[in-house]
Chain length 169, copies 2
Amino acid sequence: MDDQTIPLDAETKAVEMPEHHRDELRLWLRLLTCSTLIEGEIRRRLRDRFDVTLPRFDLMAQLDKAPDGMTLSDLSKRMMVSNGNLTGLVDRLVTSGHLERRVSETDRRAQMVRLTKAGQDEFRSMAAEHEGWIADLFGDLTQKEQKDLMRLLAKTKNSARRAMMGGSQ
Amino acid sequence: MDDQTIPLDAETKAVEMPEHHRDELRLWLRLLTCSTLIEGEIRRRLRDRFDVTLPRFDLMAQLDKAPDGMTLSDLSKRMMVSNGNLTGLVDRLVTSGHLERRVSETDRRAQMVRLTKAGQDEFRSMAAEHEGWIADLFGDLTQKEQKDLMRLLAKTKNSARRAMMGGSQ
DNA sequence: AAAAATTACTTTAAGCTTAAAATAAATTCG
DNA sequence: CGAATTTATTTTAAGCTTAAAGTAATTTTT
């Protein structure tokens, strides 16, 4: 409510900001650290164990959920990456035999992309192991803590989306 | 041949996994979505508003906390990025006049890097605004929710670190 | 002190990523 | 219908990122 006097952390030596938004900043840095840490570990294991990159794995994960294939635009939205990024990613996965691309029959601009049989097999065997890694990485959280974290992240996501409205999106 | 033994639900996805680690997977995906979403927005605003990239901003943020400078290795550890990555990043920031690098007087392998006056001024003006963006992005969370999230993320971080021990780190 | 190991950093090659501009097909509108 | 707009994708240029290999300085070991 009313602004309390701000307790100056002993180790913090920066200038006092007009409003004390330090807490949100610390929260953001912790969230980022968490996801960077885990993402890095997953990336490392995917490379060491399967010689695959995370972006490729993610792309295959999306396609595994859509047996009939998806367009590049759909993929782009789901993966939250740019269209141009996807072009190269798909190119490489087609070359390696994991993906198949075909011009859509209803729209000659669009392409349907989907996993080949080999791609699907390989993905599923990776996914099974991947799921175990994640379970282990989050293993110290109780069922309740997982549930709470899930809820708080959902709320954070909504808050962020709300804040983005009007600005540019 | 024998690979049709599994009854495939028409619209639902894949095979039932040996152990149900779906929840952890969903939790991880939500965490990742959250940080990707926010990171993307910050990246966009830094570019639009200040014509600076997030990695450069992050690097300057580290140096702002160390007025006497840091070595590349210190930066590398703190930022959780590779040494090689830092070399290029620092190069560009030196060229643009934001950073100063000097060979350490006590160790001729090492370099001390620090913000120039101009770099510091520019960073601080960006940081003030940046802090407001973060506060807004997390704005829908109550004080208690922020505290809870902070705690759960700390626990997640520790859990992940524990899981990494032995594997490669 | 010489050899071995470690540490700090750079270089390289490959891939990821984006924004912006370009191309082409489809849709909307006058 | 034909022009203008939107949508789907590719290309380009620049920068980020990593792992692995290389160089050089320091520290440890023998």
